[in-house]
């Protein structure tokens, strides 16, 4: 991987890389989501998958917008693929994404026992938790983090999630299907100071804070450029700054779908950020680069489980 970095600290206004441009969660209309919820209730996961194969095919063949959303990532991941192959890869990407959305709904409707979740790194996570500085768990838009979250009960400490629902999101979270209280505290990045005080407070209490390392959220404009799949992308670095301030380790974790009804959660890296003065983007570039390297490795091994429907490389 190249190591050249660019910085774009404190960018003002909307940027093409801001969270507002991510709408992968809303691929599909509201009634289409409702259709699958009914299918799950009537025939379970398999019936929903059955319909999904045709609907994914429809999207790939008939929706130019869907193909365009797949294109930036697939062109980077498969630079030598011809037109037919890219079409096939688009189908696989959309199909897998649809399966994850269905699985997420299945967990809510039929309960977490509907899937077998294997956690690799349990003892490591417990040891990190016991350090007492809190834990920043940094994921990405891969696999199905919601299913994996249901496997974090063993941590026996409150889990906080930095997330927001974009306008137009129509799919439900698994706990909404189940009609239960959200199992983790939601920190909204659009709230006062981007939720940083809440994150700091949670970590000081030794809690877990989950963030996405591949997406800028809310009003966060603190990004640093790193190489990813042969081009420069902007990744957020606020979490590394918070890690430096609190001493919390950053655990890079990814989930993946291993089988029809099984997922696994893997610890890909543990990043320690020493106390640093100031907030220059370049200071945090090495940590963002480690994240991008881990994500690149994941996309190499599981190319159709990195659900990137957004041009991360757009300048």
């Amino acid at each position: 991987m190249h190591t050249q970095e660019q910085t774009s600290q404190r960018q003002e206004g909307s940027t093409p890389r801001s969270g507002a441009n991510w709408n992968d969660r809303s691929l599909g209309k509201s009634w289409q989501h409702q259709f699958f919820y009914v299918a799950i209730r009537l025939g379970g996961r398999r019936l929903a998958y059955f319909f999904l194969y045709f609907i994914a095919l429809y999207y790939v063949l008939c929706s130019r917008g869907a193909r365009q959303r797949c294109s930036p990532y697939l062109r980077r991941r498969f630079p030598h693929a011809g037109r037919f192959h890219r079409l096939w890869y688009s189908y696989k990407l959309i199909l897998n994404f649809g399966k994850v959305l269905i699985d997420r709904a299945v967990v809510g409707i039929m309960g977490p026992d509907a899937f077998h979740v294997t956690l690799y790194g349990r003892e490591q996570l417990l040891a990190l938790r016991d350090e007492g500085h809190g834990l920043i768990m940094m994921g990405a838009h891969v696999g199905c983090w919601q299913v994996a979250m249901s496997a974090l009960d063993f941590m026996q400490c409150p889990v906080n999630m930095l997330m927001r629902r974009e306008d137009g999101d129509v799919d439900r979270h698994y706990y909404e299907h189940a009609g239960i209280e959200c199992p983790y505290r939601v920190i909204d990045p659009t709230e006062y100071l981007g939720g940083t005080l809440q994150m700091l407070g949670a970590l000081k209490q030794g809690e877990v804070v989950c963030v996405m390392g591949d997406r800028m959220l809310g009003s966060d404009r603190s990004s640093v450029g790193v190489e990813f799949l042969g081009g420069s992308v902007e990744l957020p670095y606020s979490a590394y700054k918070i890690a430096a301030a609190t001493g919390a380790p950053v655990v890079v974790f990814f989930t993946r779908k291993d089988g029809p009804a099984s997922y696994s959660l893997h610890v890909a890296d543990v990043i320690r950020v020493p106390q640093v003065k100031g907030r220059e983007a370049q200071t945090f570039a090495p940590y963002a680069r480690r994240f991008s390297e881990a994500l690149e490795q994941y996309s190499t091994e599981h190319p159709f489980q990195f659900f990137n429907f957004f041009d991360m490389w757009r300048t």
């Binding site: 100071l193 981007g194 940083t196 005080l197 809440q198 700091l200 407070g201 603190s222 100031g278 907030r279």
Partner: protein, 83 residues
């Protein structure tokens, strides 16, 4: 040096504020957004700085939000915690 003056000095030095001196910061100037123009990452730094220089911990949002409004509110918070 009183708490407000020390706070202003620490702010400028530790947050690497350019184009502003401690004397130019008003006691009631809004710290974040409009006013001094600090942002969320500066808030992280500020929480660390307050603990480092004043021995006062800002533990959560309930404490932090009202305290981090201005030099006046932050100084009052620090003095209250210091007893």
């Amino acid at each position: 040096m009183d708490t407000k003056a020390k706070l202003k000095q620490v702010l400028v030095e530790e947050l690497n504020l350019e184009d502003v001196t401690p004397d130019e910061i008003e006691d009631d100037e809004i710290l974040f957004g409009e006013g001094l123009g600090l942002d969320s990452l500066d808030a992280v730094e500020l929480v660390v700085v307050v603990q480092k220089h004043f021995g006062v911990e800002i533990k959560d949002m309930d404490e932090g939000r009202p305290a981090l409004q201005s030099i006046n509110t932050l100084a009052a918070f620090i003095e209250e915690k210091q007893g």
